[in-house]
Symmetry: C2
Subunit: 293 residues, 2 copies
DNA sequence: CGGATCCATACCCGTTCGGTATCATGATCG
DNA sequence: CGATCATGATACCGAACGGGTATGGATCCG
């Protein structure tokens, strides 16, 4: 059987055209080299070098085999290197799911940092509503997801990435637009626009709790899954909304944002299945600041 | 050192995900396979399979390595196959020089037959005047050349490919255009157009000998290297010419061809240096009908 | 809980590889 | 033109490695 070693030997010999010097370069003595080359030629059934007494010359077949052997060796080295890189999580694929809102907060910077440090990992970024994300990570559809903190869950670990207060989004003509800060007691009966509990439970719950802390029951009027849609509907004068403060940084016309007294906050987390064996997950979590990664 | 064999073993194992079955497919028993795989993993420093008690599964790094190992094996097989093909002259390069005139006689068919039978040999076809061709073959510039027979030469073998008679090319208004056949005695003083002796010695000599066989000295008026040019000059009425009969098959306007009495003939030969080691030369010569090739 | 399945380990033997010593051959030089 | 040198091939030896059989340990299944 022809060996990688024999190819290495042949390439060294073809490059020096001198058995002694080639053997030296290979850190073996000359006779084994002669024998290995002879064995290679015999195995191939092809004479690769013409031995002159002063120097050897490649035959046509030898020239051809030199090129091909170099290609084999390159592929071989590549394969070994890639296996190690893949094991370290520096090479491979990583699929990340995230709620659309995170595209305005942590996703861009985190992605940028990760791809800068791990350029060989292909990242697949997919947007989804938060309630689907955690199920997807459990099902193995995503290696990690970025979403509002869903609380503790079996088989899923999570790490807090980002926290922001909710604020009030109003149409500029609204009666509360003149106030600097607003509390729950200012809001009874106000038509609310918010994401449905089934799609974004964490945020929905935070809003309900905030209202109830002031002894008030919220009255939801319109539902939309994305915060961007919610704010657009506010701009249209269809109601008010409690949205993450980062939404105020986007330049929406016909919307003003007001602080809430004792504003509730929502956290972004990165969540993953600890049993997930994708080696690229670890560097990603490290980049996200997860301790011990 | 990681071995081609270990890669083969790994691919077989990755394809069956079963040590016993993979070993069977490899015609070895299971323990050596286990050991080789373990050695491979140790060498790489990477776990490639997760051994379940019922079946094994590839790790991410293992999946990657499977792809790369397949690529290595493919390159390896390719290299071995190519070496054998190159040695048989079925793969490689062949440079053929030929006189332009042969493009109308033997070159097209010979080339077609050769490329049909030996599709992996890249042929480099180069036109040149006959006097340069034989020097070029001696210098190694061409592996073989096709030209008028230059006679025996040191270090060059030749084989006759094709023989054709010379005929007379005339302007239709010429006084001899009415004769069916012409002999040397009809030609004294006629202004001749022909290739120069330095460029096409064989043909030039044949023409001179033919005239002298009738006791006449030829009077050369114009010289051009290519037979096509010679005939074009005849069409223009600048003189007469003795050209290979195959020129008459090309539809030149304003030229008529007449047979010569006791017409001299010129041979096309393929010529090569017997010391030439290009394996592709032999099949080419075989295709050209050279005996013993 | 017992048997079956499957991979890992232990041990043996034959092959192969690399090393040293030496030979055959062709180039080089006085 | 013959002595010398350089180079690759061959002979032989000891160590390493690969493959084989026997067996152990873990897990799954009925």
């Amino acid at each position: 059987m022809i060996d990688i070693r024999q190819m290495r030997y042949f390439v060294a010999l073809a490059e020096t055209l001198h058995f002694g010097r080639a053997a030296e370069r290979l850190h073996i003595s000359q006779p084994p080299l002669s024998r290995q080359i002879a064995a290679l030629e015999k195995e191939l059934g092809v004479r690769l070098l013409e031995r002159g007494s002063r120097r050897a010359t490649l035959t046509h077949a030898g020239r051809r085999f030199l090129e091909d052997a170099r290609a084999v060796l390159a592929a071989y080295d590549q394969a070994c290197r890639n296996a190690r890189l893949a094991d370290l999580g520096e090479l491979g694929e990583l699929s990340i799911g995230f709620m659309m809102h995170a595209a305005y907060t942590v996703v861009p910077r985190l992605t940028r940092r990760f791809v800068d440090k791990h350029p060989l990992v292909r990242i697949e970024l997919r947007e989804a509503v938060p309630s689907l994300l955690v199920d997807a990570v459990l099902a193995g559809r995503f290696d990690a997801v970025i979403t509002f903190d869903p609380g503790p869950m079996r088989g899923v670990a999570a790490h807090r990435l980002h926290e922001e207060r909710l604020c009030l989004a109003l149409n500029p003509g609204h009666r509360l637009a003149g106030k600097a800060a607003v509390g729950p007691e200012d809001l009874p009966g106000e038509p609310l626009i918010a994401a449905p509990a089934e799609a974004v439970p964490t945020l929905h719950d935070a809003i309900v709790r905030y209202f109830r802390s002031g002894g008030i029951e919220p009255s939801f009027r319109l539902e939309a899954q994305l915060q961007q849609t919610v704010v657009s509907l506010v701009a249209e004068g269809l109601g008010i909304a409690l949205v993450p403060a980062s939404m105020s940084r986007i330049g929406y016309p016909d919307v003003v944002f007001r602080e809430l007294e004792d504003a509730p906050s929502v956290a972004h987390v990165v969540a993953w299945r600890p049993a997930n064996l994708n080696p690229a997950l670890r560097p990603f979590l490290a980049e996200a600041g997860v301790p011990g990664m």
